[in-house]
Every structure is written in structure tokens, then in C-alpha cells.
Symmetry: C2
Subunit: 433 residues, 2 copies
Amino acid sequence: MTLTAPGSVQADSSAGGPVPPCPARGLVCRNCGATFGLIAQHACAECFGPLEVDYDPELMKAVTREQIEAGPQNIWRYVALLPVGQDQADRVSLDPGMTPLVRADRLAAELGLTGGLWVKDDSANPTHSFKDRVVSLAATAAKGLGYTKIAAASTGNLANSVAAHAARVGLPSFVFIPSDLEPGKIVQSAVYGQTLVAVDGSYDDVNRLTSELGETDEFEDTAFVNQNVRPYYAEGSKTMGYEIAEQLGWRIPAQVVIPMASGSLLTKVDKAFRELTAAGLVEATEWTIYGAQSAGCDPIATAFDNGWDVVKPVKPTGIAKSLNIGNPADGPYALDAIRRTGGAVARVGDDEIVQGIRDLARTTGVFAETAGGVTVAVLRKLVESGRLDPAKETVVLNTGEGLKTLDPLEPVVGPTHRVEPSLRSVRAAGLIG
Amino acid sequence: MTLTAPGSVQADSSAGGPVPPCPARGLVCRNCGATFGLIAQHACAECFGPLEVDYDPELMKAVTREQIEAGPQNIWRYVALLPVGQDQADRVSLDPGMTPLVRADRLAAELGLTGGLWVKDDSANPTHSFKDRVVSLAATAAKGLGYTKIAAASTGNLANSVAAHAARVGLPSFVFIPSDLEPGKIVQSAVYGQTLVAVDGSYDDVNRLTSELGETDEFEDTAFVNQNVRPYYAEGSKTMGYEIAEQLGWRIPAQVVIPMASGSLLTKVDKAFRELTAAGLVEATEWTIYGAQSAGCDPIATAFDNGWDVVKPVKPTGIAKSLNIGNPADGPYALDAIRRTGGAVARVGDDEIVQGIRDLARTTGVFAETAGGVTVAVLRKLVESGRLDPAKETVVLNTGEGLKTLDPLEPVVGPTHRVEPSLRSVRAAGLIG
């Protein structure tokens, strides 16, 4: 199965507008540089290295700000920089993206940041996490490659997004989750009425199982969004970087703090900034990328601290479950981006994560899931340790919604007062004199 | 306290753009027609009838589609049709609005609707309900009227939105909730670090208490968003109607199904359609408005069935808690809009509500709270009873997020399969041969 030939100009889309050329010209191995067509494969046939999409730089340079700004208010405004979805009729998407970039002056003041602070808030996406971006790309690639079903292994956000995408278009989906997930996360994934398989095992067990299932005849026509179509899936994360630059007025921020699970999001935001610069869509400026992990799952932080190029797997613990990938596939590439841009990695414990959620909510009105708490707590730590420059403009990424991870907050936040329904009781509580 | 004089052209805003004139010229009593300035009052001094904002029709007619389309991707694009916020620097807002209008072809096919079906999905707002629209207007009016604090009585969505708005700008807020709310809803309201008062009583008790508190010296400088600044607050709901028309290509849909608690949202969507028509922003076409209630709280449905002009209060029960207002302030006005446009009201029980949530999620990928389940189940009932024309274009409103009301779903949705992490177990479960 192969996608449309590179650069080919297609007929007008069903929506009536002109269809831009597809800038993707193939897949390339990030290890050995071997090239392949736009196929359904995520590992290099030569060296087993990870494949990523390779673009035609001339087609990227032909893209203009005006062309993007005239597009829809979602990720597809960047379709001329993406590998799939050029024809609107081909998209399988909840149309995520163009989430708010929130100015966080009050948090900046508390932390002593004078260069400006922003929160890129992806809890505003349709299923309330950044996973809608990658699933929209993966599902569209799956359709283009001729697959008739989609599937994923997940601990929550990805499960939710895959099932919702499948429901929107009536595509069968198969989502595999550990059976001991919180009941709330199971409801979120089950409500869409798609196939939801609870697996008695850890997330790693679930992942291994879906890898095996991908090899069976029964799943031959199934795209596993973060396995066989992973190169397309991963490109969805670039749109978060594009949006930050566009929302700042076509400018790359000096410093960005990004949570890391597999490390893929961090590498793709860096890639987005490099692409925008190379395409002449922003002025060439320097940026520094910082990685955030929880102390309960810190393999990339440990590799960074020790100067390692490789990442040693860990067994994850702790409340930031959406970041709990003990063997991060993109760890080495994340380390590379962080080191190349002069950044750093920091880790924070569960108490700091909860405090990070509360600090962000209290000062911005943005209610983040635990991963967002990790990022805000790491921001604080980087400022306090002098590794992040308080005089430079900084963006932190919130990748998901606080309503998805209420459990760690329940013991620590609650009503400030409790009264009877009478003025006398309100007076006794000290609210009035 | 009075807002800016009607129609006055202000200086350029801090954002640098021209500031449109404010079209509001005062408040008017919906009962007796008495007029007042733009003051902080919600009941007529003559007859105790409800006050609403009165606009200068000439200023409304001067507004163009191009002017609106050039505005921001949120409710403030309609500022030339709103009573407050003309100067961007004066706004107290999370910038809600421009939420997706989702084409629901699969649900339409199941229900036999041939004229086109859309879901206006307000779960995409910053705190994931339509309340962000009204709170943005109320908080902005509060600031303009010189108040230094905001407050509300609420059972959830409003509490969340008021506390988040207050947190964003660092304004003190006081939110009063019944103490027996679900722990999740308490967390959502408490995480913003504002004053949260749990009251041992029903929502009606809480409401009475805040009315009394509004009369105390201590709360003299406090705007109660749905009490003393209610005329401005309520206008926020108009933006949902404006957006539907604009997103359809400046066209009013033939049929709209709207959930009713106080009835205010329904009356304001109807008002938005009337204003757009009068201002020449859409062609004059006919529309029909349908009201949705739960069987556990159906005072407006009962009044409709019996041909009453007044609404007899009930004691609310049932899972659609955000709609559980037993004595709906805008009930008579909602009845008027429904009857004037040839619509109807229907009610659905808790099982139908859960089924409505599941039907919507399964066919559109939109996960609604119980109020959205009410609306979808009522849509089905109206079609089946022949009261809604299947050949006409229909829009249903989802006012909130499914993650906020997980409890009723937990017993009925879950994994479709449970397996060990082995191909053998997957085979035994019938997923592969």
C-alpha cells in the first residue's frame, strides 16, 4: 500500500477549493538514512531504525503565510506542510487544533519571569488532549493507504481519540487498554460504542499484544495508529509547533517546555520550528527546548543527567499516567533536540505535579491533567535552578484536560468554607462581619 | 453604577484596533416595557418583571458580515451586537465561543432525518460548557459597572466557569454550591483556588442565600453573575445563535432543539435569530424552536402540554442535574418563543437520556453531558411523534461535556472484551479466528 505520488497535483477537492500538492516524497530512516516510498511501515528494513516522513524542501518553501491564514481554524490550515489530507474529502478527522495560546502573566509574575509566558492549551481539542492531532493524521493516512479499520494500544487519551474519530466517520476501531484503568477513563473510551478490549496486564503487555496482533491475518486491513502508520501519526504533533509560531505573530519563542512520554512530541515541535525557518515562514532565530518528566518515570531525564546517548528503560510509577512510558521510542531523538538547542531536562515528584496543576489553574484558569502539572512544576524547577532564562519569552505545553485526572486532586482541594443556608451561618464562617 | 453611555464611540482599544460603538441603550422590562439605564439590576422597579438589554436598531443594522468575519475566533467577533466589551482592554473573559458545528450525518440517517442535522458542540468551550459565554459577558459588565468581585450560586458548570474567569484575571470570586455535589464537580470548582462555599441545602436554598448576601454591606462591591448583572449575563447566550447562523453560511436553520433549565438559553437563541434578521445579516426565513426537558424536571413541558402561560414549580429529580431548575425564571418567555415559532416541548426519562448520550457519541464522536443526552433523546422523540419535520434542516445544542457527568454511564458502558495479553486469549475471545 502506498500513498499518492509525491508532489502530484490532485483534482479539486469535494469542498470545491484547490488542493495543494502533497509535500511528502517518502519515508526516511532516522538512523541510516535509507529511503522508502510513502508506505505503511515504521521501522527501517535495513537497520530497524525509526522511519519518518521526508519532505520536498522546494514544495515547503513555496508555502506562504497568507495561504495558511486563509485555511480553516484547525490543523488542516497547515496541510501544505503535512504528508496527508490535501484533499478535504480524504480526511478522517475531528478537526482538532488552533487551540488557545494563553498569556500567563500572573504565573510569570509568581515565578519571576519577565520575558513573557504563554500556555499552549491542548485541552481545548475535541477529545481534550493533543492526541487528536496525531490520530487525525494517522486515520487519514490509514484511509489513504487502503486500511478499513484503525486500532491502538493506550492508557487513556489515545484510546479516547481513536474511538471518537472512528465514531465520527463510522470506521470500525479496536482499542486495547490495561484492564486496571480508572473507571472514568474506561467510560470515556467505551461511550463511543467501538470495540474496547481490556487486557489483564501492564501497558507494556498491551503494546506487545497489539504488535503481535498486527501480524495476524485478521488485522491485515487494520492500521495501528502508533505502529504501522506511526510515521504519519507522529507528524500530527508538528502542528502544535506551527500554531505556537503563528499565534505569536509568525515568530518562534525563545524557550519551550514540553512534557515527554515517548519523546515524540518534543522532537516534532523542534522539527516544526526547523521547517518553518527553512521554509522562510518565520525569521531565523534561536530557540531552546526543555523536557519535562515525572520522577516516577524519568528515563530521558536520567540519560540527560548522565550524558548518555541511549535511554535505559524504567518501570513507571506515579500519578502522571499519560507520561508513563518506561521505554521511550523517541528518547534519543528528544535528547538530541534538547542538547542541540542548549536545553535541559528536569523531573518532579507527585506532590510537585499536583502543585503544578493548582498553580496553573489558580493563575490562568486553565485546568490541566497531570502531564500539564509536570510541565508547570518543571518550569518552576528550571527557573529556580537557573537553567531557564527568566528574561526570555517562554511557552509551556499543556497536553490534556484536568477533568481526565481528578483522582490526585480530590484529597487536596475542596470548599474553603462550609455553611448552613443562613446569613447567621455565613457570618459565623467569617465570610461577612 | 452605570455602563458607558449608549452608542458612544470610544477611543481605540489597547489592542490598537478601532472600537465599535456600543449598541445597548438601556434596560427594558419584558413585562411592562419600563426603561432604565445600563444599570446593575435584574428586576423592574415598577412591576418586578425581568429586565433585558435594549438595543439601538440603527446601530445593529450598521453591522456587516465582513466586520464580524474579520473579528477574533470567539464570541467577541459579535461585540457590535453585545452590550459590553467593545474595548478589548475592558473584557474579563476566557474568550469562549466559535465552538464546532458538527455535521451529524450518521445520526440523521438513524433517525430518518433527510434535511440535514448538525450538533452545535459547546463542550469545546474553555471550561467545557456554554456557561463560559454568559460568564464572560457578566464579568465584563461587572468590571464596567465598577464591581471588584464576582459571585454565583451554581450546581456545577457555572461554578466552574466563574472560578476560572476569576483565576484568569486575578479577580476575587465567591462560588456557592450545595455541599452534596459530586466530588468531581467540587474538585473542578475548587482547583482554581478561589473562595468556594459548600452550603448544606438544596440548590434553591443556595440561591436564596446568595440573594440575601447580595443585600449585605460585605457584598456591596460584588456582582452576582445571574442576579444583579443578569441582563448582561443572559445576552452571552445570544452568541450561540449568532454562531449557528454564521457557521451555516449566514443562514438560520429551519429547526433548533434546545435544552431548558431556566429557559434563558432558548429565548436568547430565538432573540439572536430575530436580531440577525432585523439587522439584515441573514435573509428573513422562518424557524421553529423546540424545547427539551428531563422527566425529572419538566415544569415548562407541563405548562406547554396544558396550554398554560405560567409555569408551575416542581421539585427536580433525575440525572440531568445541570437542567434541574424547578422554578424556571424564563419559563414563560421560552413558552412564548416555542409557541410563536410553531415548536413543541418534549421530556425524556433518565434511561432515554443515557441512551441519547450514547447515540450521540457513537454516531458523531461528540461526548455530551446529561443535558446533551436530554436534547438528543428529545430530538428522537419529536421525530417519532411527527412533531419535527424530518425533511427540514435541524440543529441540536450540546451545552456541556460528558467528562463532567460520568456517573450515569459507568454502570452501562464498558469494555466489549476482556483478555489475557496473549494471542491465544484474544482468539478465545473471538476477536481473531
